[in-house]
């Protein structure tokens, strides 16, 4: 088994507002190995993006605060490291791609300028060398005529092109870990497939660890080796993709899988779209017990009293649900 690249242990993040203090993340544990893709899946507001920001120590503070936990990257706890050290790691060893390619590039600088910045900062390249490298990177991410594109401004590129530029920026310094926060949500389906191919190719070539944050079970099935299902600031189920998708243990995971619309033209009348009733609980609501209890079809009295512990179903497949723990006892 490859080395553990990143280990998140017991991560808790709190936000303080007028209504009090809310726990956005509540003891998140994750591991990513070199060359592996970890998918993080869940609805909006489950803490996926907050987990990503915490790994880079970019939780907006105030009002946010990392309350507990460790983020161990290659043996160093990033949450305890000095700011300079973390800054050297950002963009250099750990890079991130955002959801919105339309707004993630600075409109007043050329593409080349922005790709080159990380190269100059972290690798100390000269302007000419950075430019040459940037052209190589644009070629690598499949942008035609890179010698011309490099002098263009973001508004002259399409959404797919911009996301490619973002990926070029992210992989510029050959990071060991890439965090992609819903990298294809804002793109067309066809472009989405291209971006996934590109990410896979880059990952295979450089042996990068990849954290793919998404709400799309299809993307998880296609891209990830392992998956962590998040709900209410907790990882409720984690395991190899094949295990989790074939034998989902948590009712929430099963709900998410059932919600993926199937293309079935033979069904008559067409099958109803499924949904999980209810909404993600607001972070300001005080929680005792399982955060999913309110929406769960299999809820038991116990669920509202105490958060279930992690229960290992099979090797590397763990779930936090009283239904499973209870069945075992």
């Amino acid at each position: 088994m490859a080395d553990v690249l990143l280990a998140v242990e017991g991560l808790a993040v709190e936000f303080t507002g007028r209504a009090g203090t809310a726990r956005v993340l509540n003891g998140v544990d994750l591991t990513v190995r070199a060359g592996e893709t970890l998918g993080i899946v869940g609805e909006s507001g489950c803490g996926k993006s907050m987990t990503a920001l915490s790994i880079l120590r970019l939780v907006p503070s105030p009002p946010g605060r990392i309350a507990a936990g460790r983020v161990v990257f290659k043996g160093t706890d990033l949450l305890a490291a000095p700011e300079d050290h973390v800054r050297d790691i950002r963009g250099n060893r750990i890079a991130m791609i955002f959801q919105e390619p339309m707004t993630s590039l600075n409109p007043v600088f050329t593409v080349g300028n922005q790709i080159g910045e990380g190269l100059r900062r972290h690798l100390g390249l000269s302007a000419d060398a950075a430019r040459a490298r940037s052209i190589d990177l644009l070629t690598a991410v499949g942008i035609p005529a890179p010698e011309q594109r490099i002098d263009e401004y973001p508004h002259q590129l399409s959404g797919g092109m911009r996301q490619r530029v973002m990926i070029a920026m992210a992989i510029a310094c050959e990071p060991a870990l890439l965090i992609a926060d819903e990298p294809t949500t804002a793109l067309d389906v066809t472009v989405q497939a291209q971006i996934f191919d590109l990410l896979r190719e880059v990952q295979a070539r450089r042996g990068m660890g990849l954290i793919l944050i998404t709400h799309d079970m299809g993307a998880i099935a296609e891209m990830a080796d392992r998956v962590a299902v998040m709900y209410g600031g907790r990882v409720v189920e984690e395991g190899a993709v094949a295990d989790v998708l074939d034998r989902p243990q948590h009712p929430y995971t099963r709900g998410l899988i059932a919600c993926v619309p199937a293309i079935d033209l033979t069904a008559d009348p067409p099958g109803d779209l499924l949904e999980i009733p209810g909404v993600v609980p607001s972070i300001w609501e005080l929680q005792t017990g399982c955060p999913f209890a309110e929406r769960c079809a299999e809820v038991m009295p116990m669920c509202r009293q105490e958060m279930p512990p992690a229960y290992t179903v099979a090797d590397g497949h763990a779930v936090r649900c009283w239904q499973r723990t209870g069945a075992a006892q």
């Binding site: 950002r90 707004t103 600075n106 007043v108 092109m161 920026m169």
Partner: protein, 289 residues
């Protein structure tokens, strides 16, 4: 994906320049200001004289051969004074505007970027300067220190920065939330680089416009101070000319009208340029044309 062809990269700055030169009033403003500035800069070199020298009889009417634009009550030539006075007025105006914009951008940027306590403290300071009657404060500063061009420029700059600061703060509040700022953090940029290298260039368009208008305001301010006798008495300026001839306003119209006209034209030129820049830099206004 579009055809790879000879694509000309259009920078936002170049696009704005293209819009700017299309506006007739902006071009008129540029021409007018260029004329005034070249007279002020080159005039004293080509036309050596002392503006405080007596050239002809006091209150000579304009149109005579020894004083084309007439003389004031002390017999000083109005034309010479206009040419020499432009330097002081423009220098004070430009310096004061620079001081005001520099203070304003620095304080506004820091307040907008950091928010919370820093924002509160800096904005209360800005409000303190805003509620202060600006002219009165500048008068106090100019009287406390020796009234030289530098102190006058400082006095004007120090009272007029809060509006620029508020504008810069508003831009920073808006821009700091954008994804490309987060993207910059993610590639390991320092705070200093994010404030000055990432957000500020995006905040510049409205600040450039406000800086242009600040020059006009500063020129008027300088004229007011000189008119009240608080300018540098040893340097001829348009404000000083109006101020020293104000009791003869009815009997010798030319002694106050010509410097007044120069101030008016200068401020007009600067305002037209500011308007042109505003149209060119503000994409919402740009669509109207």
């Amino acid at each position: 994906m579009s055809e790879p062809g000879p694509i000309v990269a259009v920078s936002p700055a170049r696009e704005a320049l293209r819009m700017f030169v299309r506006s007739p009033s902006a071009i008129f403003g540029i021409c007018l200001l260029t004329m005034i500035v070249s007279i002020a800069l080159l005039g004293p070199i080509m036309f050596v004289a002392d503006p405080f020298d007596i050239a002809a009889a006091p209150l000579t009417r304009p149109g005579t051969s020894e004083a084309w634009l007439g003389t004031d009550q002390q017999g000083r030539d109005i034309l010479t004074a206009l040419i020499y006075g432009g330097r002081a007025t423009l220098a004070v105006g430009a310096t004061a505007a620079c001081i005001s914009v520099l203070i304003g951008i620095t304080i506004g940027s820091l307040a907008g970027y950091f928010g919370s306590t820093i924002d509160d403290v800096l904005m209360r300071i800005a409000e303190f300067f805003q509620v202060l009657p600006a002219l009165l404060f500048a008068m106090v500063v100019a009287t406390l220190f020796k009234p030289t061009l530098t102190t006058v420029a400082l006095a004007i700059g120090v009272v007029s920065w809060p509006s620029t600061a508020r504008l810069a703060r508003a831009e920073f509040l808006k821009l700091k939330e954008l994804d490309y700022v987060a993207a910059e953090q993610v590639i390991g940029a320092s705070r200093r680089r994010i404030i000055w290298g990432v957000i500020l260039p995006n905040a510049l368009p409205p600040l450039i416009v406000s800086a242009t208008f600040a020059i006009g305001t500063a020129i008027l301010f300088e004229a007011s101070l000189s008119f009240l006798g608080l300018g540098d008495p040893n340097r001829m300026s348009w404000g000083l000319m109006i101020g020293s001839s104000r009791s003869y306003m009815l009997s010798a119209w030319w002694a106050v009208t010509f410097p007044g006209l120069m101030i008016f034209l200068t401020v007009l030129a600067v305002s037209l340029i500011g308007d042109g820049l505003n149209d060119a830099l503000n994409p919402k206004l740009r669509e109207r044309r």
